[in-house]
Symmetry: C2
Subunit: 224 residues, 2 copies
């Protein structure tokens, strides 16, 4: 790679970080806690978001930004059906959200009345890890059928996250998945992560996750 190319990449990342900071300032002004939800395709991101809305909708107002690589509105429609404001970002084939995309989505949401903004990133265990959006913390959703070796194979996405949800726990009886091996892989990279075992199908673990998240929203709203 030539030094010119390196310089261009550095410029892009630096511009992204600047805009991420502006996004966070805007979220801070409206006292909206923003979380960036990252996962592999099909890990159940939208299902977890719908469960989170169901658990918290009587106690706070939630807005959702849906990142998709195509123009389908499958996920955004589900969130709207759950009665919460949602905006879809179509990345036009791009493999991750970035701060520019989020900056264009934020004005479309009634942030002044939104306590929690959930950003559902594009389904991808690699590229989203490299782009700050301006949200306050990162959540990764893993799932039992993906296999217990993912933290070892895709380490970057497991670094710098505050919470990790292991979804589809109801499938554990049918799949070889060593939870201790999985956890060790995560803890080497990220010893402080909060870990939630969850099943959107049975509801297992949803209350614990929602209670922890509500705690973070409350801390934030009083000026953590």
């Amino acid at each position: 790679m030539s030094s010119k190319t390196v310089r261009i990449v550095e410029d892009i990342m630096s511009a992204n970080d600047d805009l991420a900071l502006q996004n966070q300032t805007k979220l801070n002004q409206s006292r909206t806690l923003g979380i960036n939800v990252m996962a592999s395709p099909g890990s159940g991101k939208t299902s977890v978001i719908l469960q989170t809305i169901a658990a918290l909708k009587d106690r706070c107002q939630i807005g959702v930004v849906e990142g998709d690589t195509a123009a389908v509105t499958i996920d955004a429609d589900k969130v709207l059906s759950a009665g919460m404001p949602a905006v879809q970002i179509n990345t036009g084939g791009s493999c991750h959200l970035d701060a520019v995309m989020l900056s264009k989505a934020l004005p479309e949401l009634p942030l002044d009345t939104v306590d929690l903004l959930i950003v559902e990133n594009v389904g991808n265990l690699i590229c989203p890890a490299s782009f700050s959006l301006g949200t306050h913390f990162n959540v990764v959703i893993a799932s039992i059928p993906e296999g217990d070796d993912k933290p070892y194979k895709y380490p970057n996405i497991y670094r710098g996250i505050d919470a990790l949800i292991l979804n589809k726990m109801d499938l554990l009886p049918y799949i070889d998945f060593d939870i201790d091996y999985f956890k060790r892989g995560v803890q080497i990279l990220n010893p402080k992560v909060r870990f939630f075992e969850l099943s959107c199908r049975t509801g297992e673990g949803v209350a614990e996750w929602a209670a922890w998240l509500k705690g973070r929203i409350d801390q934030f709203s009083v000026g953590e």
Copy 2:
């Protein structure tokens, strides 16, 4: 995006295509059929490759290139244990293989005695679709737990593939997955794709997939 940036991106893609052609020439010279296997993380790429090796190892020689974003050799070790030559490409965090990476891996394999080269791309439903490697055709592995909406959400990866494997069929009783809806999504994008329903756990469908692949290897070896 400035015209300068566009130009640089075009140059990169054009250089990749040139090198992909060189890779294909090298594979043609040794009469090695190359396939590029793409999938989401945890769809069972390595398991399908191991099942393919078990089904065909007495009838042809198979080599494998394993693409990983990290320096772990979990997948390559499994292939070596199955008695076949394997080379690992560590992309250093990058989200896809490209023709340069494959060109560096090819000399590490005994191509003159290899009938089938299986390239396991990085687990990602987006970026690998944009980079030709020089292999002869593309295969996507989907899996039941990923959900039936993936062809609609990640259309690019489903274009231009010759074969589609729907893996983890053994989990169908435990998951809401509409196979007709899934197939319709694929066929809109790619009407000619060959479709295989498979379970690496039960062995369902492995024989059909292996027989079709062996047919392609035979056609290729006599100069299709």
